[in-house]
C-alpha cells in the first residue's frame, strides 16, 4: 500500500452524535480496535510473547548446564550493544554538529499572511489538577493569532474539582472551548487529546502543556512553514527550553539534556533520515494527516514518540522550527524520576509496538529506521537500566579483585567493556560540555562534568519503568508543576 492509501480510521471526523462517554470510549479504543498492531493497549503481541518466553526458556536451560558461560555470554551481548549504541550516538552528534535543517521563519514572514489567509488553528491543552489555570490562560492569550481563527480547547477530566473550581473564576474569550473528559480508562493525556480532536475546527493542530510559555509568534511561524512546506511534511516540532534552568543542579542537567537533543541529536536523526520521537508539546500537525494516521495512542505514555515513529513508517516527515516554548524543568529529584520513568516506559512501549509485523502500516525496513528504533528508542531506556549494574560490577571488582567477577569478562569482552566504559562515559561528558558551549551557557560546564550523577537518577528511573511496564503499563505518572522558585512554598 502507498502512503496515501493508508488510513487508520481510529477517530470519526464528526462526533456530534456522540455523548461524552461515547467520545471518551472512541478516543480510548478507536486505534486499538481499528489497528491493534499499532496500539500499546496490549503491551506485547502474541508473537512477541512467544519469542520472549522461548528466549527466556533457552537462557534458563543453558544457565543450568553452563552457568558461567551463560553469564559471560549475556555480559558480552550487553557490552556489544553498548558499543553499538555508543557508535550510533557518536554518529548522531557528528551529523548534528554539521548542522541540521531547522526551519527559520522571520517575524516579517510570520506576519506576511493576512488574517484571512491564516488557517484555523486548534490548540489542545490537557489540564489535570491545575489550580493556577489563570496563568495558563494568560500564556495562551499572549499568542499572536487572530482570535476568530483560534480554537483553543481546554481538556479537563470531569472529576477534576481543583481545575473546575479555578476555572469558574475566569472569564474566557470566545476562542476557548472547555471539553469535559469522561472518567474512562486509560486516564492519559493522549486520550484527552483524542477527545479534544473530535469536532475540532482546525486545519492545523498543536498541543501545549499547562505550564508552557510558547513564543507569541509560534503559531504564525508554524502556519507559514506548513503552508510553504512539501505535503509530506506532516509535523513541525518547535524547540523546547526551560525558564528555570538555573534553579539547581538537576535543572541544569535537564537543560543540558534538552540542549543536546535540540542542538545535536534531533538534527542528527534528521540527517540520517531516522524516525524522530516527537516531544510531548509544541508539535504542529496538519489535522488531516493526524486523522489519517489514527491520531494519538491513548495507551502509550509517550504518545508523542509513538506518533513520530508512525509518521516515519507512513512516509511522512517531521521538521524542526526555530521557535522556542519555555517549560518548567523538574527541580525535584523524586518528581524527576517519576517523569523520566514514564518517558522510559513509553519508549519501551513504543519499541514493542513498532517491532510488530503487519497491520495497515507499510514497514520501513531500511537501516536508518531500524537503528533509530533499536538503538535510540529501545536502547535509551534499556541501557539506562543496565548501566547501574555494570557500575556495581566494576566497583565490586575494583574493591575486591574477585576471581568470580574476573571470570565473567574474558579478554574479548573485557577490552570492549573497558573501551565502552572509559571512552563512552568520557565522550558523553565531552558531548555535554560541547552542548553547554553551543547553548552559550558556560554555567552549565560544571554540571556537564558532574553528569554521572544524572546517569544515576536515570538508572533509578529506568528500573522503575521496567517494573511498571510489567505491572501497570498504561499508568500515567503525573508530573507535579509549580516547583520552580516562583512557585515554591513550604
Amino acid at each position: 500500500m502507498t502512503r496515501d492509501e493508508v488510513v487508520v480510521p481510529a477517530l470519526p471526523r464528526s462526533a456530534a452524535a456522540l455523548d461524552a462517554c461515547a467520545r471518551a470510549d472512541v478516543a480510548a479504543n478507536g486505534l486499538a480496535e481499528s489497528a491493534p498492531t499499532l496500539s500499546a493497549k496490549r503491551v506485547t503481541s502474541r508473537g512477541q510473547r512467544i519469542i520472549l518466553v522461548a528466549a527466556l526458556g533457552v537462557v534458563l536451560a543453558v544457565a543450568v548446564i553452563a552457568p558461567l558461560g551463560t553469564i559471560t555470554a549475556l555480559i558480552g551481548l550487553v557490552t556489544f550493544i553498548y558499543l553499538a549504541a555508543l557508535i550510533y550516538r557518536g554518529l548522531l552528534f557528528y551529523q548534528g554538529m554539521r548542522g541540521g535543517r531547522v526551519i527559520r521563519v522571520s517575524d516579517e514572514q510570520a506576519h506576511s499572511l493576512s488574517d484571512e489567509e491564516l488557517p484555523v488553528y486548534t490548540v489542545l491543552i490537557p489540564v489535570l489538577h491545575e489550580p493556577l489555570i489563570e496563568t495558563l490562560v494568560g500564556n495562551l492569550q499572549r499568542l499572536d493569532y487572530p482570535v476568530d481563527k483560534l480554537d483553543i480547547r481546554l481538556l479537563i477530566e470531569a472529576d477534576d474539582e481543583v481545575t473546575w473550581s479555578a476555572l469558574e473564576k475566569l472569564d474566557l474569550d470566545a476562542c476557548f472551548t472547555v471539553v469535559a473528559i469522561a472518567p474512562r480508562q486509560p486516564r492519559t493525556k493522549p486520550k484527552a487529546c483524542n477527545v479534544g480532536l473530535l469536532d475540532s475546527r482546525g486545519d492545523l493542530v498543536t498541543i501545549y502543556d499547562a505550564e508552557d510559555r510558547p513564543e507569541p509568534l509560534q503559531l504564525r511561524r508554524a502556519a507559514y512553514a506548513l503552508l510553504h512546506a512539501d505535503p509530506q511534511v506532516a509535523c513541525i516540532q518547535a524547540q523546547l527550553s526551560f525558564y528555570n534552568s538555573r534553579q539547581n543542579l538537576l535543572t541544569r542537567w535537564f537543560a543540558l539534556d534538552y540542549g543536546a537533543w535540540f542542538h545535536y541529536l534531533l538534527p542528527g536523526l534528521e540527517a540520517l533520515k531516522s524516525p524522530i520521537p516527537l516531544g510531548g508539546t509544541s508539535n504542529h500537525f496538519r489535522a488531516e494527516v493526524l486523522y489519517r494516521i489514527g491520531a494519538w495512542d491513548p495507551w502509550n505514555v509517550t504518545e508523542d514518540a509513538d506518533l513520530g515513529l508512525r509518521l516515519h513508517r507512513l512516509g511522512y516527515q517531521v521538521e524542526v522550527l526555530e521557535s522556542v516554548t519555555l517549560e518548567e524543568a523538574n527541580s525535584d529529584g523524586i518528581n524527576w524520576i517519576r517523569q523520566r520513568s514514564r518517558w522510559y516506559k513509553g519508549y519501551l512501549q513504543t519499541l514493542l509496538v513498532h517491532l510488530r509485523r503487519g497491520g495497515p502500516v507499510a514497514q520501513r525496513g531500511d537501516l536508518a529506521t531500524w537503528a533509530g528504533l533499536l538503538l535510540f528508542v529501545g536502547g535509551t531506556p534499556l541501557l539506562a537500566a543496565l548501566n547501574g549494574f555494570q557500575w556495581c560490577l566494576t566497583l565490586a571488582w575494583a574493591l575486591t579483585r574477585s576471581d568470580l567477577i574476573a571470570g565473567w569478562f574474558p579478554p574479548g569482552v573485557y577490552y570492549v567493556a573497558m573501551i565502552s566504559a572509559v571512552l563512552g562515559n568520557g565522550l558523553v561528558i565531552y558531548f555535554n560540555v560541547l552542548t553547554a558551549r553551543a547553548m552559550g551557557r558556560p554555567d552549565l560546564v560544571w554540571a556537564a562534568v558532574l553528569s554521572p550523577g544524572y546517569w544515576f537518577l536515570m538508572w533509578l528511573a529506568a528500573l522503575k519503568a521496567a517494573a511498571q511496564l510489567v505491572f501497570n503499563p498504561s499508568y500515567w505518572e503525573k508530573t507535579t508543576h509549580g516547583l520552580d522558585e516562583g512557585g515554591q512554598h513550604e
Binding site: D332, A396, L460, Q488, E490
Partner: protein
C-alpha cells in the same frame, strides 16, 4: 504500582506528638531504630561487635544531627514514590549485606559502610526516599568512626559535641518543622520494614 504521597488517612489518629511541633513521636522511634537496630543487628549476627568508645561519640553526634535535620523546617513538597522507595531499599540492602559479609579487605571500613547502608535500607522502607535523603549529611559522623579512635574519650567527646553544635545551629537557623511536614509511617511501611529487618539479619547470619 500506585504512587500516592505519604499522608494520613482521614480517619487515622496520629501518634502522640513532640511538644510544640507537629512531629510525630513515632518518627523519632523509627529513626532511633534505624540508627541502632538496623545497623547493629546484622553486625551482631556476623559477630563483629563491640564498638569502641570513640565510635559511640561519633554515633551520638550522628544521632543529634539526624534529629535536627529531620525536625527542622525544610521544603516538603509531599511528592513521594513508593516504587522508588522499594527499589532503593533493595539496592542499598543488597549492597550493605555484601559489605557486611565481605572478607579480605579492610573489614572495619566495609562493615561500617555496610551497616550504614543497611540502616538506609530500613529508612527507605519505612520513611521513604525524601526523608531518608534529608538525613544524608549525618552519615559523615558515622564515616568518621573510621578515624582511629584509640578508645579515646576525648575523641568521643569531639564527635558528640560537634554533632550537637551542628544540630543546635540547624534548629536555630531553620526553626522547628511545620505541622504536617512529617507524618507517621503507614502500616504497610512498618510491615515492610519488619520484613526487611528479618531478611537482613537472616542473610547476615548465613554470610557470617
Amino acid at each position: 504500582m500506585n504512587t500516592t504521597p505519604l499522608t494520613l488517612a482521614p480517619h487515622a489518629r496520629p501518634l502522640r506528638r513532640l511538644p510544640r511541633s507537629g512531629i510525630p513521636a513515632g518518627t523519632v522511634l523509627n529513626l532511633g531504630a534505624a540508627l541502632v537496630v538496623a545497623w547493629l543487628l546484622p553486625l551482631a549476627a556476623v559477630g563483629r561487635l563491640p564498638i569502641s568508645v570513640s565510635d559511640l561519640g561519633w554515633l551520638s553526634g550522628a544521632g543529634a544531627v539526624s534529629l535536627a535535620l529531620l525536625f527542622s523546617r525544610w521544603f516538603q513538597p509531599h511528592i513521594d514514590d513508593r516504587d522508588l522507595d522499594v527499589i532503593l531499599t533493595v539496592l542499598v540492602g543488597v549492597a550493605g549485606l555484601w559489605l557486611v559479609g565481605t572478607r579480605g579487605i579492610d573489614l572495619r571500613g566495609a562493615h561500617l559502610i555496610g551497616g550504614l547502608l543497611l540502616s538506609a535500607g530500613w529508612l527507605f522502607a519505612t520513611m521513604g526516599t525524601r526523608a531518608t535523603m534529608r538525613l544524608w549529611p549525618a552519615a559523615w559522623w558515622v564515616v568518621a568512626c573510621l578515624v582511629p579512635g584509640l578508645e579515646s574519650v576525648a575523641i568521643a567527646g569531639v564527635g558528640a559535641l560537634s554533632g550537637l553544635v551542628i544540630a543546635v545551629l540547624l534548629l536555630i537557623r531553620r526553626g522547628w518543622a511545620t505541622p504536617g511536614q512529617l507524618v507517621p509511617a503507614a502500616r504497610t511501611r512498618r510491615l515492610m520494614g519488619l520484613v526487611y529487618l528479618v531478611l537482613v539479619v537472616g542473610i547476615a547470619r548465613v554470610l557470617a
